[in-house]
Symmetry: C2
Subunit: 216 residues, 2 copies
Amino acid sequence: MTWDHEPPGGHRRGYHHGNLREALMKAALDLIAAKGPSGFTFAEAARAAGVSPAAPYRHYRDRDALMADVARRAFELFETTLEQAWAGGTPDPFKAFERVGRAYLAFARQEPAQYSAMFESGLSFAAFPELHVAGDRAFDVLKDACAAMVATMPEDKRPPVMMMALHIWAQAHGTASLFARGDEARRPIPMTPEDLLDAAVLIYLDGLGVRRAKSV
Amino acid sequence: MTWDHEPPGGHRRGYHHGNLREALMKAALDLIAAKGPSGFTFAEAARAAGVSPAAPYRHYRDRDALMADVARRAFELFETTLEQAWAGGTPDPFKAFERVGRAYLAFARQEPAQYSAMFESGLSFAAFPELHVAGDRAFDVLKDACAAMVATMPEDKRPPVMMMALHIWAQAHGTASLFARGDEARRPIPMTPEDLLDAAVLIYLDGLGVRRAKSV
DNA sequence: TGTACATCAGTGAACGCGCGTTCACTGATGTAC
DNA sequence: TGTACATCAGTGAACGCGCGTTCACTGATGTAC
């Protein structure tokens, strides 16, 4: 239970908010969802959280610091989501790999604000090194999955895992950015983004020489 | 010669600017390059162009209209660039196809502001239908190139051209967004984005069953 | 070729607005004894 | 168990700033005759 850290029912309890950090991040995500990654202000987030414009300064140095916290949390959730989709490569790496791809797109689709925070916030890694770390952790899930796929191949035909992971990432990110986003800039295409990515990955795996189960 | 439409040497000629539209677009690109796709204001663009803050209203309804004009022009230049790289598929489709991929990345790299304007401006296609048209034209270059590749295959093994073009586009866009951008959010990788994309496309083509020349 | 005039593309002053940020403050909470 | 006090997390008023936008205006340009 988390009663100790949340204002009950989302209402203010009194003079102290009780969980302003959380409320500010929530507000930021709502505003990002509504107006894009740079479409919110510190003052607006405060207003949405129901506090005075000076209150956020108790928790964040400035808008970027709040944004970075949102992005970091998004990366952590993203990592968990991909990890669960991979599920240790069960029942077999091929099925699990396809599941990861679908989970990637589902995240971009269902959490466009968090996806934006991760990849379009414009924050520099130099200023927020924890972002870099969190991003790498999420990428590692993808890399581990690729490693498992590569391990099914004969030793003398294995491609570099890093290269393969970057290829898959770019394909997934490109598909998500161009076709799976919820915003108005999404391009309409004659198939679902999920099917499109699925097909791309299958063709790519064929090209690598990964032999997949006969089921397809 | 274009003396009639440009202030000589970039200086104001007198009371009339001479080519304010152009100057505003240039200013917008510079500001996008410096501060991101949403990092400039109408007033700032006016200042950069050396005119009063009211002057831009003679040419654009608002900031978004200027942004849309920048993006439209960027798409047109992008289309031309890809078209020239393709060069009618000479000397052979495979070499030309690789050239298109490299041209794609080179554009994202050398013109990050224009690339941002095209893909991260946040403008809605509904509000600016000419953007949709311009974007489709650029995409058509890619699609035609894919069609030429597909045409080299035996008829009974040809994949859908649209699918293939979307795959290539997503791969190129993902690679450009994640690894080839000039901004501070670029991820460092142990190879050039060009080589990464090249490899991805070759593997993908192998997967499709496109037989390439023995040269590689 | 001159001239009168319409049109165009700029000026600059003004306005209301929301933002970022600071400040002295105050209500609530936790803890030492 | 009470109480005094330190600390924490808020308030709200204030400020300067730049933006978007409007307005009556004016200098420059093009053209009809």
